[in-house]
């Protein structure tokens, strides 16, 4: 299986928990003989590198340097994510099995790649805008929520880290319950759970 992970933070650029989480996950995936690529942001360390753990990482910068908010920053960075992912796709003989996108930032790229090239994606949720902004409904928050909604709608599978998060996704976005799989990083078999989700996404989410 060939997988691309999209995450807006990855070591050495650490913002929150996602950097460490995706780093551990990609290491585990390689150990399980999954060909693992990762696309992430870095302001200047751009290009493709192979990490000691065997993960191939494409780092992209934002071609637009000046921004008026996180939304414009994200919505211009996504084209670079698309470019990096498309390069991987074409160099791999047009064969990527699944994209795993972490949080809303790179959902637009995942949606485009799905519709353009037929690569399915898993939307892995770490946090939701409704919680981050304490239920604020200003245009700015609604725009982020609309991107989160697009992710839930277009994803083949969704992963959440707890039962509570799954119920919140259902409450806010009316996502079907059987589309959401709980992956707890504490359990020893979490990697096999992740691989299961990937397989289901590849099969259109129909098989279990």
């Amino acid at each position: 299986m060939r997988v691309i992970i999209f995450t807006w933070e990855y070591p050495p650029r650490i913002v929150g928990q996602l950097a460490e989480y995706t780093s551990n996950l990609s290491t585990q995936l390689v150990k399980n003989n999954i060909e693992t690529y990762l696309v992430t942001y870095h302001p200047y360390m751009t290009g493709m590198t192979q990490e000691p753990n065997g993960v191939k990482i494409a780092r992209v910068a934002n071609p637009v340097r000046t921004h008026i908010g996180v939304l414009t920053w994200v919505l211009t960075l996504n084209q670079e994510v698309e470019r990096a992912a498309a390069n991987i796709y074409y160099q791999a003989g047009r064969q990527i099995d699944v994209i795993d996108v972490y949080d809303w930032h790179f959902v637009p790229a995942a949606v485009t790649l799905k519709n353009a090239l037929g690569v399915p994606f898993v939307y892995s949720v770490d946090s939701l805008e409704d919680h981050r902004s304490h239920g604020a409904n200003a245009p700015f928050n609604m725009a982020i929520k609309s991107i989160e909604w697009l992710g839930f709608y277009e994803a083949g599978k969704v992963t959440a880290k707890s039962e509570w998060m799954r119920s919140e996704i259902i409450r806010i976005y009316q996502t079907p319950k059987d589309k959401i799989q709980i992956i707890t990083s504490s359990t020893s078999n979490s990697i096999s759970d992740v691989l299961n989700v990937y397989r289901q996404a590849v099969g259109g989410g129909a098989k279990s």
Partner: protein
């Protein structure tokens, strides 16, 4: 010979959605391209009452959700709209399976959609730069403006060829983004003469009375009421013109300067001589252009100046600022009158000269009409555009993307 080319246009406006000059440009260019056998797929923003898909004279038009949720500001809306446009365009292009040869974006308003589509489908991207942020704003003053200017730079960087509608814009875009000369190509804007001929055949006497008294000359300004279009220069020139000629000044269009301009008009006591109509439907606008005794284009920045071309098609004499694309369209004293940009004395002189001399006025009309028929015909412009596509595809076929 019929072509087998297939192109996807990305544009934020297409009739019936008309905001500026991009809409008519894309409309006529796509129709003329389709006439010569190019398959054109236009992906554009939706509009109330307009179908989400229709075939217009061989052109496939797709109108996509333009993101109606509230956005924090205009620029953020543009990027959010691009997210939907890119998704829908990807679905259409994927359904056509390798049938899109070229993506053609019109302005930064569809920059991110165009750039993304180029990379995921690995097809060449062309862009027509209809304007620039640094030109529109006469410099870059805010973060939002800088962000837009950098997005424009990125778009021209990603484009295989950058098309501009005038020599002025070629040099402006080259300067603004530091592009190599061989990346730029000039293809003029066009104008459809037939639609104006049809309007001119009608009896417009009673239509005219809604705007001006029979003894008043009709001076027409058409454009957004924003700084770069220079409506304020014409407003300030009105007292000087009225010293010599009895005229009515009609301003068609709206914009952020509208309140300011009407305040000026009120304060100098000329409300009975000036009319702000706001936005006007195309049919009425063409009638009004045919009625105008002079059409004034007092722009401070003008990439092309389509409104001057339209006035010439309506056989209205034109007075334009000697700036940007207008300098190339109008030949002074022959097809129109050129005046100094941002100079109310010069503008008043030009307008008065045209209004006081009927013979001179008619001479300008005839010469201008002859000139645009030779130079600004959409079918010729489409053929030129098609040759650009072919040369880009020739280069592309030798690249590792092909």
């Amino acid at each position: 010979m019929k072509s087998s080319l297939s192109v996807m246009f990305l544009t934020w406006e297409f009739p019936p959605r008309v905001i500026g000059g991009i809409s008519p440009h894309v409309f006529y260019l796509s129709k003329s391209l389709a006439k010569s056998g190019v398959k054109v797929h236009v992906v554009t923003c939706d509009f109330p009452g307009a179908p989400s898909h229709e075939t217009l004279d061989g052109v496939e038009v797709y109108r996509v959700d333009s993101y109606k949720s509230p956005s924090p500001d205009f620029a953020t809306w543009v990027y959010l709209m691009n997210l939907n446009m890119q998704k829908e365009a990807a679905i259409i292009a994927a359904r056509l399976r390798d049938k899109i040869d070229v993506f053609h974006a019109h302005d930064w308003l569809v920059a991110t959609a165009g750039i993304g589509l180029k990379h995921v489908f690995r097809k060449p991207l062309l862009v027509t730069m209809h304007s620039t942020e640094i030109g529109r704003r006469d410099g870059i003053h805010t973060s939002a403006e800088r962000m837009i200017a950098e997005t424009e730079a990125w778009l021209t960087y990603e484009a295989w060829k950058v098309i501009c509608c005038s020599q002025y814009m070629v040099s402006h875009v080259k300067w603004a983004f530091g592009l190599p000369s061989d990346k730029l190509v000039m293809v003029p804007n066009g104008v459809n003469l037939q639609v104006y001929e049809n309007v001119r055949k009608q009896d417009l006497k009673s239509f005219r009375t809604a705007f001006a008294l029979p003894e008043e000359k009709l001076v027409l300004f058409v454009g957004r009421l924003v700084y770069e279009k220079g409506a304020h220069v014409l407003v300030n020139a009105i007292p000087k013109i009225l010293e010599k000629v009895n005229a009515k000044f009609v301003f068609v269009g709206s914009g952020y300067m509208k309140d300011q301009l009407s305040t000026v008009v009120r304060s100098i006591g000329l409300e009975n001589k000036v009319l702000f109509t706001g936005f006007m439907d195309e049919e009425s606008l063409m009638k009004l252009q045919c009625c105008a005794d002079v059409s004034v284009v007092p722009s401070l920045f003008e990439p092309f100046g389509i409104v001057a071309l339209e006035a010439m098609a309506a056989r209205s004499p034109v007075v334009v600022s000697d700036t940007g694309g207008l300098s190339e369209i109008v030949e002074h004293d022959f097809t129109g009158v050129k005046v100094y940009s941002n100079d109310l004395g010069s503008l008043a002189w030009g307008v008065t000269k045209v209004l006081l001399d009927e013979k001179y006025r008619n001479g300008l009309r005839e010469n201008a009409y002859k000139r645009i028929r030779e130079k600004y015909d959409w079918d010729k412009i489409a053929q030129h555009t098609e040759r650009i596509y072919e040369s880009v595809l020739g280069e592309y076929s030798k690249s590792f993307w092909a």
